[in-house]
Symmetry: C2
Subunit: 325 residues, 2 copies
Amino acid sequence: MEEIIQTREISVGVVGLGLMGSSIVAALLLAGHPVKAIAPLPTELADAPDRILSQIRHADEADLLAQAPDAYIAQLTVSADYGVLADCRLVLECVTEKIAIKQIVYQKIAAVVSSETVIASNTSAIPISMLQQLVPNPERFLGIHWAEPAYMTRFMEITCGTQTSLERANWAFELAHYWQKEPTLLRKDIRGFVTNRLMYAIYREGLHLVEKGDATLEDVDKAFRYDAGSWITMMGIFRRMDYTGLQDYPEIFRRIFPLLSNSDEVPDLMQQLVDRQLRGTQSAQGLYDYTEEEAKEWDKAFAVFNKDIYQLAARYPFRTDQRIG
Amino acid sequence: MEEIIQTREISVGVVGLGLMGSSIVAALLLAGHPVKAIAPLPTELADAPDRILSQIRHADEADLLAQAPDAYIAQLTVSADYGVLADCRLVLECVTEKIAIKQIVYQKIAAVVSSETVIASNTSAIPISMLQQLVPNPERFLGIHWAEPAYMTRFMEITCGTQTSLERANWAFELAHYWQKEPTLLRKDIRGFVTNRLMYAIYREGLHLVEKGDATLEDVDKAFRYDAGSWITMMGIFRRMDYTGLQDYPEIFRRIFPLLSNSDEVPDLMQQLVDRQLRGTQSAQGLYDYTEEEAKEWDKAFAVFNKDIYQLAARYPFRTDQRIG
């Protein structure tokens, strides 16, 4: 007979402690879980504890903590040994987007956990139904897609593969609410997920305008930052349509859809930057150019902004689950 | 010899006092201009003064006023008579998106103002180069596209038509900075403008996912609200790419671009709502369903949110005008 335990007592495993993995560990600790964090890379093993601590302090500055930071850290185990995952009911995989590497990771996880343990990937690029085939007992596998920083964003996309048990998906959906997320549950395995599809539709059009010389990077960023940026945190795109009265849209669709880029190609502009190994603010060169100080300033400013926008969004908790039947 | 006057002493005309026109009048009054507001419709003549006053009070609540509301209102003339525009150096047209109506309006404006007076349209749907042909002395005609509410958003898109004098466009660009906007100046007449192109790329993809049954309206709104909504007010889309390190994008472009909707068609879902004359929160029925109270609640909440996000955005004034040459 299974012992009844509190949700916060559920041990959760995280495999892969890069930027995103560490941030997910912080989110799970803040939710009260004991967290077993596996660092497959030696650099991650060395860096992760400090990074996780500084993330918890960041959350503390935003008044998100009920206890002192140490109380959360006490629940953390960091190890290179998959054996510590043994008692986890959920293990989140956050390693690089390479299928061969993920396959090895899934085998190592499955070798130590119960066949009931839910295994989830944070992938935003590879179909869940494909990854699922690499996991023993595939019905317990699904996608749980977080936004960075995981401990201070409400976004969460839960995606079923074709073999995922709906019961497990619902369990994860409930758990996401316990984590104070605003999850979406996609019962079908949509290639590209929802948020990526929307974002890449913008990226395609924005890069198209820049490559044609119709607008500069700055124009596109300004337009989006000061237009969509003035309402999207509260509304989403369809609520905005309702708010603006709906009637004008079909006429504008008719005029604008035929003008939009339908390209399948990777824009040269992007390919060249990536070929040159530029990493944006992380290397102080990318689409924009930065001094070392400017690059750091952006990173710091975003940490502060994130706290601000998280708190602002919390004041507008409107439910979006009412619609015409 | 022309008298030298202060920028704030420039009289500005606004023709069309619907929701957007009234809001633009409020923005111009707050900038200190004498404003000549023309109400072509009797209902607008009756409703506009109260609406403008309540918008100025709204701005007052957000601490945007240097003087008492009455001091701004004292600078306002509302009339059905185009003759009051005579001394304006700039006239903004904000009437309905019908070319035949705009043509009549331009003739009435041109009949009373100097041939030097800049005439601008707030259109977001009709090419500036086309409208320009309807205006005597077309070199003084351009697009000035505002975001709602005009007195509390920083977005502004200034668009040249093929015949627009660059000198006039630069004058408008300077003036926009005086209005505390973050304007973009598009020297080419891009059909669909920048912000519309980006937004309609999202609308196309979002409606496509909903019509295919891959996601619900709520899923799309949640994903966008809690993902993009957690950074876009600060970053814009290209700055975000730099911030996230650039390297993964080409691979994801390659996977996702071929999946995106390339449709030219107006989605049935939208056409049906519009055929049924639904107007979203304005009629308490649209993509979502509302009770009368809920619809009002959204309107009220957005007025408050707008103040919050305007103030938040003001704390992150990073310039976006640095880039690789």
